[in-house]
């Protein structure tokens, strides 16, 4: 009951998933704010400036939440995963350290300038600080994904005295796994930001408050939402999937619920994995589609779970459902955004209340899709913490007991529940107060 590794995994899983709720918005929103500032400057249109100021308030509290929930992530490598730090610190430390030096310093310094310095700075410098904040957030994401990608597909290392040593920084930063995982995650983040912007805009139109700003939010959100929901599927999602097939075939088998190796493997649209009988229950198949997606050949052989010993399997159900939720939601996002973009082009979107309702209520779902995607990546890597090199069970701290970690996990849960309420309360107030109060409103 007080299994230490299980407690460590729960604590890391809970704290990372809670943490990611915030950067998933800020990475994309930072880019959108930088674009709004660019439009404001290039067209000398202050409507975009007012919108940038409004979203900067949301950005600020979200960024703050991301910072405070992010600090425990780095520290847990030491507190709960001491044997992992000991084994892999020389490699993953590089990217974690680079995130601090190259991203956090820039992000935090320029965020202060961007949020509080509009009156003190020349417009171009203020625009530059918005760009630097966006760049910092995206670069920060890159270093974290380079760290994760090394754990998914270790490269540029050699094992000396039982520890991983870095052999090439360039190799670590150009890990082929990272090169598609990174744009996929950024694309997912931009979908989130787009749908949040569109959703809030739809709320303004539906409630007939701040309608000018609402129209602008919906327009910007729908256009970028369409672009990035498609980019999440192709090319970033598709090539990322090919990488999984290439480097972690057993994860791909779990994602698709493919128990037996077969030529011309199908994709199950629906179906429940039955890990006792080793088959999908009540599946609806698209014949041969998986072989084509994985290898570009309808007859290609795809490896199934049964080719691997059971102690190499990830928890199949979790990976399978998470993957199907991500793909299913992603498909729906494309559909919704395509319809919305069509109506935007026909100039009827702002009066199509049924679609505005959908846009507003769709707001939570990109969060679910992003979290599900990360579950596929991380749960699907199990039982390894570093794929093929170190098992998760052999990576925890030996001097921290399970009971201790359950205790601190409950502490995190309690504190994070309060944080979540506070965040929603404050974000709700900012949204209700609306974008036009920026001139004499509260500071963020």
């Amino acid at each position: 009951m007080f299994d230490a590794v299980l407690a460590d995994r729960w604590q890391f899983g809970f704290t990372i998933m809670f943490h990611y709720l915030f950067p998933v918005l800020t990475m994309g929103l930072g880019v959108m704010i930088a674009v709004l500032k660019t439009v404001q400057l290039s067209r000398a249109d202050d409507r975009y400036g007012a919108l940038a100021r409004f979203w900067a308030k949301i950005f600020a509290i979200t960024f703050g939440m991301g910072v405070v929930t992010g600090i425990p992530m780095e520290f847990q490598f030491g507190t709960n995963w001491a044997r992992f730090s000991h084994f892999a610190g020389g490699v993953v430390g590089q990217t974690l350290f680079m995130e601090g030096v190259f991203a956090f310093f820039a992000e935090s310094s320029f965020l202060g300038l961007f949020l509080l310095g509009e009156k003190r700075l020349r417009p171009v410098v203020h625009w530059l600080s918005a760009v630097m904040v966006a760049l910092g957030a995206v670069v920060s994401g890159f270093f974290i994904i380079a760290t994760d990608a090394w754990m998914q597909h270790p490269v540029a290392y050699e094992i000396v005295n039982g520890r991983a040593e870095l052999t090439s920084l360039w190799g670590l930063l150009t890990n082929p796994y990272a090169l598609w995982q990174f744009p996929h995650a950024i694309s997912g983040s931009l979908v989130t930001a787009s749908m949040v912007v569109a959703g809030v805009g739809a709320y303004y139109l539906l409630s007939r408050t701040f309608e000018n700003a609402g129209r602008l939010c919906v327009k910007v959100g729908v256009i970028s939402g369409l672009v990035f929901s498609m980019a999440s599927l192709f090319p970033t999602g598709a090539v990322n999937g090919e990488n999984v097939t290439r480097y972690q075939p057993v994860k791909m088998a779990a994602m698709e619920g493919l128990f037996r190796t077969q030529e011309g493997a199908p994709i199950a649209i629906i179906g429940m994995p039955d890990t006792e009988r080793h088959e999908l229950m009540d599946p609806i198949f698209v014949p041969r589609a998986l072989s084509y997606l994985a290898y570009g050949d309808f007859r290609a052989k795809v490896v199934g779970l049964d080719d691997y010993p059971p102690d190499m399997h990830p928890p199949v159900e979790l990976v399978y459902y998470a993957y199907h939720i991500m793909v299913g939601l992603g498909t729906m996002f494309i559909a919704v955004m395509a319809v919305a973009a069509f109506l935007l082009w026909r100039r009827t979107l702002f009066t199509s209340r049924w679609l505005l309702w959908i846009l507003m209520l769709a707001l939570p779902f990109p969060y679910i899709a992003n979290e599900a995607g990360w579950m596929v990546a991380e749960v699907g890597r199990q039982p390894w913490i570093v794929y093929g090199l170190q098992r998760t069970a052999a990576a925890s701290s030996t001097n921290v007991s399970g009971g201790m970690t359950w205790f601190t996990l409950l502490g995190f849960m309690g504190m994070y529940s309060v944080l979540a309420l506070l965040y929603l309360f404050v974000a709700g107030r900012i949204i209700l107060a609306g974008p036009e109060g920026t001139e004499d409103g509260e500071r963020s």
Binding site: G78, V101, A106, G112
Partner: protein, 338 residues
């Protein structure tokens, strides 16, 4: 050689953190005492508002440099002091949201609640960081694998507590000097008046800690005997300590603050000079003598690559930190964010 350079880098990062986040921790711990009216509190917070977040990054970067250069130290120290570390994390969370959220609702009770949270979490963090340094100087009971289990009794030993209180006074002094430099009016007067009492407490505690350190860590003077030039660090610290009340008396607020910063750097520098090459010594009776820059290090190649990254990265960081602090130069006003 590369191990020694990383010891130096780690010292620089931690000293940088102590100096920079030190003043905003100090302002946090003191602002309820020094700032009496809501407007004054607003000014005190405004003085650190644009920079506290960046200051905290030094802690993350110090953590990052520990992972990459001395992974075993990171693993052993953080897991050994598990609960204490978790409390530090929770306090950092509370402190961060307090300063972020206090402006979000315009209601005096909302602000008071967050200001008290900010004050208490800042003060406790100052004590805990001091206690952490104290425990690093004192050492921990390692087992044969180089791990230890830190209980509260072990963590909160008298020497560490003494260091914790010293840290509270030193950072309080640092924060008061910062407020004296960055504000004006009654708040500035009160900040100025608090410098000398805090300085007296700090000097007494510093003398006590220095004396006690010879008892808890008898080998501490060895490095100073071997490389007498190292004695310049504590001597410079002593000079900085003496100059603080003198600068205060002559009304030179910026010089007072810089002296306080120099003092903090020199205290930590002296501790590092005494520790070298040890990173976390073992208490008497430990199965191993402790972690040092060799047995806790990652490979020479990993460290060399990371040092190149570090020097390149910090060169960029310094360029824009200088510029950021230049933008926020001058007196803080409550209206700056409107």
């Amino acid at each position: 050689m590369i191990n020694t350079l990383w010891f130096l880098v780690l010292t620089v990062m931690l000293a940088g953190y102590a100096v920079l986040d030190g003043f905003d921790l100090g302002v946090g711990a003191l602002h309820l005492l020094l700032a009496r009216t809501p407007a004054e509190r607003e000014t005190a917070i405004a003085a650190i508002g644009p920079v506290w977040n960046g200051n905290e990054v030094w802690l993350l970067a110090a953590g990052g440099s520990m992972v990459v250069a001395f992974p075993h130290l990171y693993a052993a120290a953080f897991s050994g002091f598990y609960l204490a570390l978790m409390i530090v994390l929770w306090l950092l969370v509370l402190r961060g949201i307090a300063i972020e959220f206090r402006h979000q609702v315009d209601h005096p009770m909302w602000r008071d609640a967050w200001d008290v949270t900010f004050c208490l979490s800042s003060a406790l963090l100052a004590v805990l960081f001091g206690a952490a340094v104290g425990n690093v100087l004192r050492g921990v009971p390692f087992d044969i694998e180089g791990n230890f289990r830190g209980s509260f009794a072990l963590l909160l030993n008298p020497f560490a507590l003494l260091c914790g209180v010293l840290s509270l006074f030193a950072l309080g002094l640092h924060g008061a000097a910062y407020l004296a430099m960055k504000t004006d009016g009654p708040l500035q007067q009160r900040a100025r008046r608090s410098v000398v009492p805090l300085w007296i407490g700090m000097v007494v505690l510093l003398a006590a800690v220095t004396g006690a350190s010879f008892v808890v860590q008898p080998g501490f003077t060895g490095n100073f005997a071997r490389w007498p030039v190292l004695a310049l660090v504590p001597l410079l610290g002593a000079a900085a300590a003496i100059s603080i009340p003198l600068f205060r008396r002559s009304g030179r607020d910026t010089a007072t603050f810089l002296s306080s910063a120099t003092l903090i750097v020199c205290v930590l520098g002296s501790a590092a000079a005494g520790l070298y090459p040890r990173l976390l010594p073992g208490l008497p009776g430990s199965a191993i003598s402790g972690l040092d820059i060799h047995n806790a290090a990652s490979s020479a190649r990993s460290m060399t690559i990371a040092l190149g990254v570090y020097l390149f990265g910090m060169a960029i960081v310094i360029v824009y930190l200088v510029n950021v602090y230049r933008v926020w130069g001058g007196k803080a006003t409550t209206g700056y964010h409107a």
